[in-house]
Amino acid sequence: MATREPEITPAADVMVRMNQINLSFGENHVLRDLDLNVAPGEKVVIIGPSGSGKTTILRVIMTLNRPNSGTVEIDGRHLYHEKNNGQLVDAGEKHIRAVRTDVSMVFQHFNLFPHMTSIENTMLAPIKVLGLSKEEARERGANLLEMVGLGDKYNQYPGELSGGQKQRVAIARSLAMRPKVMLFDEVTSALDPELVGEVLAVLTDLAKEGTMTMMLVTHEMGFASEAADRVLMFDAGNVLEEGTPEKILRDPEHKRTQRFLKAVLSH
């Protein structure tokens, strides 16, 4: 199917560009004419009430939910479309996979592969997708597990780890793909309160390192004000307001944002 969306020349300062994205699940219009640009290396935190569609943004970028209309570009390349005689047409699986190498995602419920040890979880995709040798993949995985503080858990299965440890393995697994963009979908929401800190510490380190583009859906306002470059308040399928963490968290313009923050912070 050809689309009439005008092709936008990729600017050097945009890593993720979402253009006029619409997505419905049946009657439920989750994303409405969404435009969103994220700069290379930028850390964007997305907040908003549940059901506002904020997770769906990440899922669209990860190709887990295909938008009904609109375009997504990653580092200047169309994700869902490819050019054919100067026209944008729906991309095939091969094209999508080529662009998707730049993106990875960490999930609320970890989604670790239960039949593989920590190190095997980090090795599978680098070997199968990036073509690394076993030794290279093992070294890369080991370094990353070390980095997230799990240097002693290489050979544990996910079922033998705590929630916080699982999530750190999942982060290492995604980092092993060396993506340009990392998506974090409520990665601390399924954790017991005392385990949240260890995962946030890893995320803060990653954010401070600087080079990777990160998009995070989270309710951790402390983390947002410390590590985010920009905070987006999302409501009813689009961005209600955005700005620096200081601006949005301390002095939001919209009543809706004030009410939301009050509910989250008192909780």
């Binding site: 998707r100 995602m105 989604n111 599978l124 199968k128 299965y157 996910p158 033998e160 999942a170 697994r173």
Partner: protein, 229 residues
């Protein structure tokens, strides 16, 4: 009780039973995999073909399939000399097993949580690697117990081939009964001894199959399965 010759006859029948079971189980397993995976295809047509096979293979019942494969199919195909009772038995029981097995395969794959597929996409694995390295290793663990039960049902089902005059354990037992009643033996064994022995042999076979699949379950599951949360 049974004389040595009579026991010998039952054991020879048991050997036929085992052969029919093994070959039917092989055919049934191949059909299970083909139609089970086809049932999960994105193509509507392939799904419909799989569905039709599953409903007919199960709905027709082992006995009706067997009789038809033995006495109608060879004539319809014009090859009565090719399809003997052994082949008819294997075909009918294998097709019947495939109908149930396809559901085991499909159910096993569907039971793997959706998050596993999503994580595979987030790591950019292609469809083949996703199925081979992520979905199937987990699905197989879920499939083994029902697949083991299905094997026991197929083994029990092999007794039906006695009705198309294949000399399996059940047929030999029947044969001994007829000979006993016909005054073939001076000291005829009681029908209780004949059928009792046959039942015990079948029970041993089904326990061996159950034991084997419990062992397989332990092997494919390994440490991760026990630790799964």
């Amino acid at each position: 009780m049974l004389s040595g010759n009579q026991l010998q006859a039952l054991l020879e029948g048991t050997w036929i039973t085992v052969q029919v079971f093994v070959f039917a189980a092989i055919l049934g397993t191949v059909l299970s995999l083909i139609f089970g995976v086809m049932g999960l295809s994105e193509s509507r047509l392939l799904r419909a073909i799989s569905r039709t096979y599953v409903e007919v293979a199960r709905g027709a019942s082992a006995i009706v399939l067997l009789i038809w494969a033995a006495f109608a199919l060879p004539i319809l195909l014009g090859i009565p000399q090719v399809i003997g009772p052994l082949l008819a038995g294997i075909i009918a029981l294998g097709i019947n097993m495939g109908g149930y097995g396809a559901e085991v395969v499909r159910g096993g794959i569907l039971s793997v949580p959706r998050g596993q597929t999503e994580a595979s996409i987030a790591l950019n694995l292609n469809a083949g690697d996703r199925l081979r390295h992520v979905i199937l290793p987990q699905a197989v663990v879920l499939m083994v117990p029902p697949y083991g039960n299905l094997n026991i049902e197929v083994m029990k089902g092999t007794s039906l081939v006695a009705l198309i005059a294949l000399a399996d354990l059940t047929f030999e037992a029947q044969n001994l009964r007829v000979q006993a009643g016909g005054g073939v033996f001076e000291d005829p064994p009681s029908t209780a001894a004949i059928f009792g022995t046959a039942l015990v042999i079948y029970f041993i076979l089904s326990q061996l199959i159950a034991l084997f699949y419990r062992w397989v379950e332990g092997r494919v599951g390994g440490r991760w399965h026990g630790a799964r949360t």
